[in-house]
């Protein structure tokens, strides 16, 4: 997130609306769909920016350069790496949306496996595939200006970042843990009250602490919070529950460095 400091949003002047482009890499499309899910604000957003390249939603695709580019998905093929390098050149501000673009996503589970063996499990002729051994975040290859976490991102994160960019201020996305959001909404702690394994203490807020409000422990889909002390969290739990914590850490943000390190502490 250090990129904020040296990258003042370079959006358009008053003469025209800033242009927005959305790009897809290896992903489920869920983060792009979150843009369309902001029904209440969709028309307003559409009026404040000129969405000139969003193939998921429109056949009208204009060439760059673009003021703002949103990148969904991880880099998993040589072709996609070339695309990302080109997109970086084309975009004033590059914003990654979601766990795949930010840390490689669930498909980064392949990073600790043999990709050729994996391909052979799924495809009859894996030799036809041209894929990287690892699923990597955009930031492994290019400078990323802003990141919106989540699997998937939600409307709050998207609207906050778009509004901040349009008004030339720094986005205000939380980096503290999900625990804070549980307290804010008055949800009883599932760890303390029910002894449920929960990654909330080590997971970044932003979702609104959904899982504990559904009697379920957090499974870490927003990635690591600013401070991760998984060893201390794990000390409360038995082996079965520790396995559940590890499943979450080795989940949708498996390649986020703080979660990678945390697995061995649990």
């Amino acid at each position: 997130m250090s990129a904020y400091a040296d990258s003042r949003p370079r959006v358009a002047g008053p003469a025209r609306l800033p242009t927005l482009a959305v790009f897809k890499f290896a992903s489920c499309d869920g983060c792009q769909l979150s843009i369309l899910d902001v029904e209440d604000q969709l028309m307003a957003v559409a009026g404040a920016v000129d969405i000139v390249n969003f193939p998921e939603a429109s056949s009208r695709v204009l060439p760059g350069p673009y003021d703002v580019g949103l990148v969904e998905g991880s880099v998993t093929t040589p072709h996609d790496l070339e695309r990302l390098l080109e997109i970086r050149q084309q975009c004033g501000l590059l914003v990654t949306i979601g766990a795949c673009a930010m840390s490689g996503g669930i498909q980064a589970l392949r990073n600790s496996l043999d990709v050729d063996e994996l391909a052979a499990m799924v495809y009859a002729h894996p030799e036809y595939l041209d894929v990287h051994a690892e699923s990597t975040p955009a930031s492994a290859h290019v400078t990323v200006d802003l990141e919106i976490p989540g699997c998937p991102v939600n409307g709050r994160g998207l609207v906050e970042v778009l509004v901040a960019v349009l008004s030339g201020r720094r986005p205000d996305l939380p980096t503290f843990s999900v625990c804070v959001e549980c307290k804010l909404r008055g949800t009883t702690c599932v760890v303390v009250a029910k002894g449920q394994p929960c990654l909330g203490p080590v997971t970044r807020a932003g979702c609104g602490a959904i899982c504990p409000s559904y009697d379920r422990g957090c499974y870490g889909c927003f990635g690591p919070s600013d401070v991760v002390n998984a060893g201390s969290l794990a000390a409360r739990f038995d082996d079965d529950d520790k396995a559940t914590l590890r499943e979450g850490l080795r989940g949708f943000n498996v390649a986020a460095p703080a979660f990678e390190e945390a697995v061995s502490d649990v």
Partner: protein, 430 residues
Amino acid sequence: MSETRTIEVGYLARVEGEGSLRAEVIDGQLGDVEFNIFEPPRFFEGLLRDRRFTEAPDITARICGICPIAYQISAVTAMENVCGVAVDGALHELRRLIYCGEYIESHALHIYLLHAPDFLGYDSGIAMAADHRAIVERGLRLKQTGNEIVRVLGGREIHPVNVRVGGFWRLPTRAELQGLATELDRARDEALETVKWVSRLNIPQITRPVEFVALSDPDRYSFFEGRIRSTEGIDIDVSEWNDVFVEEHVQRSNALHARVRERGMFAVGPTARFALNHEKIQPVAAKAAAEAGLKPGVANPFESIVVRAVETLHAVEEALAIIDAYEAPQTANLAVEPVAGVGHGASEAPRGLLYHRYEIDDTGTIMEAQLVPPTSQNQLSIEADVREVLRANLDKPDDELQWILEQSIRNYDPCISCATHFLRLEVNRV
């Protein structure tokens, strides 16, 4: 001297995922047609190995951001199948309810934002809103109602967190359901208006009969109940999918596509469901379908948008009926202990049948997984439509031809993110 026209769509817009289309016309005759999917593979079947059986619903949801409920329900029913647990009664009904939400939001999204612009000559739903603001806003409200059902029952609209093996993590409160009912009452009129609106669209006339395949149940319009049936006489248990269908590897292409072993292509999705299950659809939806002139066994793929609207109305009505009859079950979930074996699950995703098969061991570790998404099964039918549409429109200029070809692919609401098994598909002969 021969004249070659090439129609290329480099990046198919308004579909979920990355695909392209290329067709050649040589001396007025149709040549090669390639429907090319360059969505990068993510190897989900491989990634699921060695994970716990309870993780399958959340992991497979990430295959598709637009139909996560379909993945979750197919996964949990497969796991309950292998473990010998029947989740029925009110828990079953709640699963139907969240599925109604996915139908409403996915169908409304496709009708209003992705497909209708084709019929009316716009690049997008947003561009369409400039001239038809009230209509687009109606579509967005309808979609929001579907999202709201998924949000209340699932915790959030995309990749909901509340569906689990054995049932749910937590039951909805009476007040939450009542809030949904209020919205659904309003949405009923909007869904009815949607059927009327799409039935008045200028629908291209193409006839291409195909074998329709869907889950079918004697008691209801199936979301995840009953047997797999077809209009050509298939009538099998879900566990027999691999006996009757096959994912084939075509020569000179690394594309797998599903076909009926004995016959070949088939189609899944709203039109298939309506053909096989129309007698079970909610009466209001049946009436609207009749008034729209829709007959079961629709052979014009462009009429799928009308079927989708009829199903949206059905889902609204069904959701209201479920809430009306709801009596809270004793517990939010049944205990499911792992049993070594093979389990099968299938559900009707908005875009068609989604089949899951898992082998797990007695500790609940997944040994093997097979996932067959609807777009994979529709692949052959999509190409056959493209050829038929091309043949009927060869006299049109390239831009018009390209427009109607894209429109015909969108008839299937294809989800290419799901169907990455289908890389670089080539069809070289007519």
